[in-house]
Amino acid sequence: MRTDPAAAARQAVRAGLPWLLVVLVAVALLGVDYALGKATLVLTYAIAGLGVVVVVGQAGQIALGQAALVALGAYTQAVLVRHGLPAPLAIPAAVLAGALGGVLASLPARRLGGLYFGMSTLAFALIVEEGLARWESVTHGAAGMAVPGFEVFGWRADSTLAQALVSLAALLIALAVCRRLLALHHGRAWRAVRDDEAAAAACGIAPAAVKMQAFLVGGALSGLAGALYAHWIGFISPEQFGLVFSFELLMLAFIGGARRLMGAVWGALVIVAIPPTIALLRDALPGDWARAAGLEMVVFGAVIVAVVLLRPSGLTGRS
């Protein structure tokens, strides 16, 4: 790649401009505090979404239980911080827990691939959810547990601005690492396996090992997201990390376009925006039927269906 500083600057402006616009509109519409709170959520979701983008979009495999890896990160972080470990030191453990979970979830299907990854990751997620609910001495079971705030050497990230900045820093680091991995032989091996497994194997790439690497990296990113999520939400329980969350993350990658890393960020923006939009709609609509409990589910389902049918390659992809 050429490094022309003027062109690089132009590109940075072009990439940054839509985001500046999004931030300005959000602040104008929602107020600073609310917008920052939502921004924190978007940034955290985007980190977890990056994990799905790596597994689904880059390595071409399918992961149906990513929320469980977020849960592993969140619970590791929560338990360690509650035992007095400083938050920044707990984060590597949370990342490791997510990565380990990713490897374990994909291990049974590593030579089978395809739908079998979906099956094994789904089964792993259901086992983790049940395990978190049952292992009460550590996780407090289904009742959930409170998570202390994010603290670094006496500085507490308790304002929404601080939380957004910490999330932004984590996302930028995650994006940089992913970008580097994609440029290195890892990323090329992922894409080779995605596009043609037999051809990749013929070129001396071991597909099973490469797929496992993708699940490891995807799990690590989900673990990181989980660690931050636990702090920002302040309270975690097993049912937050159920099947619906896994599908939200899948949809996030799909909406944003799983072929590009930035797809995760755009997808996160859409996913986080959907519930408040539905709530607004509900208040705006006349009559009782809008109050019906199922409306949210119908609208959410309809959004998924519409996106899949209308934009099969996502918002950032060319269709």
Binding site: L115, A123, G131, L295, G301
Partner: protein, 291 residues
């Protein structure tokens, strides 16, 4: 010993339901390469439709149940024509998201009906018990097993002895060649979805007297995935047998192992099965048979 037999038979009964849902999943997967995440929702809609026909329209059960199955079959065919057809030939993720979204819409629609969202209902199918000597069986369990056997026999006859059934099998084996031979592949896809939806609805109606009818009864379909994997993911009899095996193992785990283990057993079995018997538990037999 008596407790053991009792648990075993209830395991077989619930296993038949898992098996039927797994069978409906495999039927659709084989014929259309579409991974369906909405079988549980179709199951729930089937049970509610039967309930509504029985309670609201006053149809007798022997009429309401087949009518509900037919209605869900039509729903499946319609969804295939309108949306699911677009997922054919795309990556699995497209079908997974599409069926999950449609399933959410179905569940949300049922949840929007206040009477359906808040209560659990009993369908008065086989509500009493059967006593055979000292053994007391729930009639609903016996009913589940009998209907499953009849349905399996009917499906086997359909796939072996009718022209349509054989064409459907041909399209599942190799859609390209079947199309070259002039068989209507697209229509067979619609048929596969109608059949898959119908089998799920039957499972829902069979489950109705066992767990009652409620909004979340479709979660039982999650157990169909381990059942399908145990059966090798592409075998219809394998899916059914995998379901029965799973039901029995799960029931015995509930009897013998500490509380909570029962809920994890199906998924642990799935992962172990993938590690040790990736072609399904019947793979050895199938390989020997083909030699």
């Amino acid at each position: 010993m008596l407790a053991f037999v009792q648990v075993f038979t209830s395991g077989v009964a619930i296993g038949c339901v898992y098996g039927l849902v797994a069978l409906s999943f495999v039927l659709i997967y084989k014929a259309t390469e579409t991974v369906s995440f909405m079988q549980g929702d179709l199951l729930m809609v089937g049970a509610f439709t039967g309930l509504a026909l029985n309670l609201l329209l006053g149809l007798p059960l022997w009429l309401a149940a087949p009518a509900a199955v037919l209605a869900v079959a039509v729903l499946g065919a319609l969804l295939e024509r309108l949306a699911l057809r677009r997922a054919i030939g795309q990556p699995h993720l497209v079908a997974v998201l599409l069926t999950f979204g449609l399933g959410m819409m179905l569940r949300g629609s049922v949840a929007s009906i206040p009477a359906a969202a808040q209560e659990t209902y009993r369908l008065p199918i086989a509500a009493d018990t059967l006593a055979i000597g000292p053994l007391v069986l729930a009639a609903s369990h016996v009913w589940v097993v009998v209907v499953t056997l009849v349905l399996a026999a009917a499906l086997a006859a359909f796939f072996r002895h009718t022209r349509t059934g054989r064409v459907l099998r041909a399209c599942s084996e190799d859609a390209g060649t079947a199309a070259l031979l002039g068989w209507p592949v697209a229509r067979m896809h619609t048929l596969a979805w109608a059949l898959g939806a119908a089998v799920a609805a039957v499972a829902g109606l069979l489950l109705a007297p066992v767990t009652f009818v409620h909004l979340n009864m479709g979660f039982v379909a999650l157990k169909a995935f381990p059942a399908a994997v145990l059966g090798g993911l592409t075998s219809l009899p394998g899916a059914l047998l995998g379901g029965v095996f799973l039901g029995v193992v799960e029931a015995l785990a509930g009897l013998l192992l500490p509380e909570g283990v029962k809920d994890v057993v199906p998924y642990a079995l799935l992962m172990v099965a993938l590690l040790l018997f990736p072609q399904g538990l019947g793979a050895g037999r199938a390989a020997r048979a083909s030699v």
